[in-house]
């Protein structure tokens, strides 16, 4: 799959997720914004109530999507036999998609009514999703190959050198300009494992880099370098700066990512167990949807 095709595929998945969220949100807005005491009298109640045709269906489909998304990714990731099936990155993307859209459907299944034992499942699901989002953020801070394998620190430093070489050879930047770029972004190994401090650092670094690149861009323009070249140089510089930041944070991110797994997985298990209880109770009391 080419990079562009992959990008289109990702956009489609995002669009599907977004469209699902907004479609049901808009379709059931009137119902969902009605107080619990009044919902029964809403015209959409029969369809959108948790045991309704649509509501119940959303719950079943959403739950299945999450079960498939979790289990498929887990199997691919953890069972050696399936290691060679597709890129892990793509499996992760599928995992993210199914486990993002699934919760959206489950959210509409709950009809925003979070009570009883199943609420535990729901909030666990929310925790899993949120931790997933955070995990995704942490995950991308660790540079990897397309196969999903992490680069070593030396490999990263080599990559950084490659960027500098490319700036020299491809765009003919003189040393003074390259030194200037590296002066602002000296590699400083970040030792703190506080997620908030890392987040704040990344947040802050983003704007610093932007400012630096703007300044750098002016200098490039003053050197009368072609605008196309300037754009490519700035893009390459940005990649270099991001890489430098990731190198500096690599140690801390590794530690945090380890902790993250401890959170993400148990919530998922809690969610699944209570979901099963919920499903069992529902079937016991005769709520079998279309079956």
């Amino acid at each position: 799959m080419s990079k562009t095709l992959h990008r289109i595929f990702i956009i489609i998945l995002i669009l599907i997720g977004t469209a699902t969220f907004f479609y049901f949100g808009m379709y059931g807005y009137n119902y969902y914004t009605t107080s619990n005491e009044e919902r029964f009298f809403n015209g959409l109640h029969k369809l959108l109530k948790p045991s309704g045709l649509i509501g119940h269906g959303l719950g079943i489909i959403g739950s299945l999507m999450m079960i498939i998304g979790v289990s498929a990714y887990m199997i691919r990731k953890r069972i050696r036999k399936f290691v060679r099936i597709g890129f892990l990155k793509h499996w992760l993307e599928m995992h993210i998609f199914l486990c993002s859209v699934g919760p959206i459907l489950v959210l509409y299944h709950t009809a925003f009514k979070f009570g009883g034992i199943v609420a535990v499942s729901f909030w666990s699901m929310v925790a899993v999703v949120l931790s997933g989002v955070i995990g995704r953020f942490i995950y991308i801070q660790i540079p990897r190959t397309i196969q999903g394998q992490e680069y070593s620190l030396d490999e990263l430093k080599s990559l950084d050198k490659d960027y500098s070489d490319r700036l020299k050879t491809e765009f003919g930047l003189d040393d003074s300009l390259i030194v200037k770029l590296e002066y602002f972004n000296k590699i400083q190994i970040h030792k703190r494992t506080n997620f908030i401090s890392i987040g704040w650092l990344i947040f802050k670094d983003y704007f610093i880099n932007k400012k630096l690149l703007r300044k750098y861009k002016k200098e490039l323009i003053s050197k009368k370098i072609e605008s196309n070249k300037v754009k490519a140089i700035i893009k390459l510089c940005n990649s270099k700066l991001v890489l430098l930041r990731r190198i500096s944070l690599l140690h801390s991110v590794h530690i945090i990512f380890k902790y993250w797994h401890i959170i993400h997985l148990p919530f998922a298990i809690v969610m699944l167990i209570i979901m099963l209880v919920h499903v069992t109770v529902a079937i016991t009391f005769g709520y079998t949807w279309i079956f």
Binding site: F40, I117, V120, V277, F285
Partner: protein
């Protein structure tokens, strides 16, 4: 943390998808789920009806909304859902759109305008169990008096709808008075109910009586303005159209009124007195209230016309009840012949009655037949009473000697007319009272003037008033005194009756006294 999340939450949380309503709050808790929920199926009606016996009772009795087609084949939870929170309206009645006819009680008139809660409130619910259910719509019966006060205080039964409509309770528009014992007709149809059915106080409340009212007699409602004079059968004269309309007029007994019709009033037509209709009650205190004053104010006293009844009665104006006694109280007291003569003799002059006669002189009525012939001193001012009395004209009480000619002897026995009456050329009787006292003015001079001397007969020389015998005559005082045999001779031997140009008479005076006149 995993264990905490995995086991703590399920324990604390509940399976329930939401709070039950307040009414069912006592069923909260996992142990109670199966009291409503059927394992392997959803909530069945039977579980609901096990508790809600009031509904099952209605359905068994085939009444109420829960027996309607809208409900019978439905699940209870289709309408009465649960687990929507404490404040969920498990009974959600759309008061505006609810078809009340499906309850078996069609809302009409005012019922369709009032709020549900105006009827569906505990005060009107008889079942003590249902009454406790706040906001329930159950428990009402289709009996008017369950909601409405019985203003009639159990006097008219319980079928309110036989008289009242739901449009307006007060008007009793369904009531048909023709089905009542007393049928309304005529003006009774226009009378307001309250006029006959008055409001009174009963048991401390206002009460309008509709039953057990006395109506056998009109007097039950109407005031008898006749005060019982005509009995109690008003309908014999009156009709219900109007009390003023009188029927059977010919049978009407006016004698029972304040003014009984007597005499000439009997045949008079009603309208002659009741001008403007019988409803007009004419004044009757005085005759002139109806009758014209024939005498044109001739009889007034202190400026007011004296009523006719003083002289007349109802038997006719041509007759009068004015009595002699009453006349005697006037200035002119009737006496003598005046008592016998009819009124008109004095009071009807020509064709006009006149009752006011100025003065009491006889000549006001009587003709002075004497004219100027009486010249007596005391006959002044046409004072008839000087000679006459009211007893009789002929009975003259006259002192004849006042004339200088005293009646003596036979004169006393004679009618006045013997002397004072004569016949004129037309042989009409002429009465004359001239003061001539000569005998021959009245008496015939049978002596054909033999004794007249100086134009005067002077009969009294020989005669007196007792008779015509010449008792006063003395032959010796004549020129020929009687002596001897002459004394023995009857008069006629010498004074013979002769007939000559002077007529037939006895010759008493001789031109020459000679024996040969008598003796041959």
């Amino acid at each position: 943390m995993f264990l905490l999340v995995t086991f703590t939450f399920p324990v604390l949380a509940q399976v329930s998808p939401g709070d039950l309503t307040k009414a069912h709050a006592y069923l909260e808790g996992m142990s109670n789920c199966t009291k409503c929920h059927h394992i392997g199926g959803q909530v069945r009606n039977q579980e609901c009806l096990n508790c809600h016996t009031e509904i099952s009772k209605l359905q068994n009795e085939k009444r109420g909304y829960h027996n309607s087609n809208d409900v019978v084949n439905k699940n209870c939870f289709d309408c009465h859902s649960e687990h929507h929170g404490r404040n969920f309206r498990i009974i959600n009645l759309n008061e505006k759109n609810f078809d009340h006819s499906k309850t078996g009680f069609v809302l009409t008139g005012k019922h369709s305008k009032i709020k549900c809660a105006d009827c569906h409130k505990p005060d009107f619910i008889r079942d003590n169990k249902i009454k406790k259910n706040v906001g329930t719509f159950l428990g009402l019966r289709s009996v008017c008096m369950d909601c409405h006060n019985d203003e009639h205080q159990s006097t008219l039964g319980s079928k309110c709808e036989s008289c009242h409509s739901s449009e307006n309770f007060k008007s009793a528009s369904m009531f048909n008075h023709s089905q009542a014992k007393y049928i309304l007709n005529g003006s009774h149809l226009k009378v307001e109910c309250i006029k006959c059915h008055p409001i009174e106080m009963r048991n401390g409340k206002k009460f309008q009586k509709f039953r057990d009212l006395a109506f056998e007699s009109c007097n039950s409602c109407h005031q008898d303005i006749h005060k019982g004079k005509f009995g109690n059968k008003c309908e014999s004269c009156h009709v219900t159209e109007s009390f003023r309309t009188i029927k059977n007029l010919e049978k009407f007994d006016h004698g029972k009124t304040n003014y009984p019709l007597i005499g000439k009033h009997v045949p008079v037509k009603c309208n002659d007195c009741h001008k403007g209709g019988l409803k007009v009650k004419p004044k009757y205190e005085k005759c002139i209230n109806c009758h014209k004053d024939f005498h044109n104010n001739e009889f007034t006293k202190n400026g007011a016309v004296t009523d006719c009844v003083l002289c007349h009665d109802v038997n006719g104006f041509e007759f009068t009840s004015y009595s002699i006694e009453q006349h005697s109280k006037t200035k002119f007291k009737l006496t003598g012949s005046h008592l016998a003569i009819p009124c008109l003799t004095c009071h009807k002059k020509n064709t006009k009655w006149e009752f006011r006669i100025d003065g009491d002189a006889c000549v006001n009525c009587h003709i002075n037949v004497h004219g100027n012939s009486i010249t007596l001193k005391n006959y002044k001012g046409n004072n008839c009473e000087a000679c006459h009395t009211a007893e009789k004209w002929n009975a003259v009480a006259f002192e004849h000697k006042l004339t200088g000619f005293e009646l003596l002897g036979a004169h006393k026995r004679q009618d006045c007319s013997k002397c004072h009456s004569s016949k004129n050329e037309n042989t009409s009787k002429v009465i004359s009272f001239t003061s001539k006292s000569e005998c021959i003015y009245c008496h015939k001079d049978v002596h054909v003037g033999q004794f007249i001397k100086n134009g005067i007969a002077d009969c009294e020389r020989c005669h007196h008033f007792n008779n015509w015998n010449p008792d006063r005559f003395d032959h010796n005082k004549t020129s020929f005194q009687l002596e001897g045999a002459h004394l023995k001779q009857p008069c006629y031997k010498c004074h013979k009756t002769i007939v000559d140009e002077k007529g037939k008479y006895i010759k008493y005076k001789f031109d020459e006294v000679k024996c040969a006149l008598c003796h041959l």
